[in-house]
Subunit: 256 residues, 2 copies
Amino acid sequence: MMKIVIIGSGNVATHLTIALHNAGYEILQVYSRDITNADILAQMVDAAAIDDIGNVNVTADFYFISVSDRFIDDVARQMPLVKGVVAHTAGSVDMSVLNKFDLHGVFYPFQTFTKDKELDFKEVPVLVEGNISHARRVLMEVADAISNRSQKATGEMRKALHISAVYACNFVNHLYALADELLAHKELDFSLLKPLILETTQKALSMKPHHAQTGPARRFDHQIMKAHMDSLPTKSFHHEVYALMSESIMKMYDAD
Amino acid sequence: MMKIVIIGSGNVATHLTIALHNAGYEILQVYSRDITNADILAQMVDAAAIDDIGNVNVTADFYFISVSDRFIDDVARQMPLVKGVVAHTAGSVDMSVLNKFDLHGVFYPFQTFTKDKELDFKEVPVLVEGNISHARRVLMEVADAISNRSQKATGEMRKALHISAVYACNFVNHLYALADELLAHKELDFSLLKPLILETTQKALSMKPHHAQTGPARRFDHQIMKAHMDSLPTKSFHHEVYALMSESIMKMYDAD
């Protein structure tokens, strides 16, 4: 059975490590700059915790670098040269950052992770890239072991996926946060939006979102848009967001 | 049993009429400028179809004006004076547009409706406003008959709700459409986003969206944001939307 070292102890590292452990892989070590964090995750999967990158076990078959994007380069430089496959888990970082390792690649789980929230990794698409066919094969094997939705993807495809995730996850959540701000201002509860949010989500997933579009901007109803903007609070970017999103919707459907 | 006249045959009118019919109310008439549309809905609820507003039955107990926001004023002017309660169903239109009727108000179902898509009206919040207590009482009675989530709300509250719905429904869907545009460009399927969209939605609904925020902007990761923007297509408003939403997120968390 393949032996794995995990570099990182954040949200992605945690979920990935647990999924690998549950799939029967042996987790040798968990590294974190903070030994307490390393220890919490290591204990969950019967691994050793380390906080010195120089102590990475060089005999493992597989190394996951699952740290913040901007630290991947540093971690790769500090890691001893290893013979196993080294992969990072970042959507927007080029594979070439791991060039010093003979076998390297990217293992990108396309999902948003919360540490304390369980999730079915089988449903998480995993996008895989490898520098040579052997690396690709090993990466796909591991991906298939923990997910039903693994596929190969180039760096360009991964970047498009990552940006689309920023839209559909981060920006969407921010719109929810702005909506909550508006409601709280009038002492209304965010849960009022629940049926509408669920319906919107289901619609977008069951038909093309392009065809599911509704609302004042889609109807080019300038009167309502103006009334809305006139009543928006001046704090945050409410005005700017309302104006730009409306303009963007109108542009998308202008040619229809 | 209360007798009801429906003015309008669009998405909201259709779902509302069916819910009222299912709750046992008698639908006397369905009005639409287009008699074919009036007829389709009228047949579903054993009502008469009319396309002349002058032919509205003046003996009904309740009149729903469920037409596009900008036509509510016109419809109200053209309607004969009636003794029953007259309510429109728009979030952003003031109740005073119905001042000519002694008993009037607003009956705002806070949901996005698609004509051919069934939906459980019991879960739809209905926001109710009435000009006098008798109107309010009748409106709340009807709201309670078709929904478990009816509550009173002033015009100001309704407007905040409507705008929050534009954010959480219309703008969110537009972000999905923009994401789909990016993915299609790389021949990737929108369904790849499905687990991520479901997870994001569940997180926002189970915790405050303010606390669920993740992503490059939340981490103030300018390097990734720049890389993303450099790779965005120049068509549509991709650059502008990415830049503004990121700026808005950073502003929201700057003081944390």
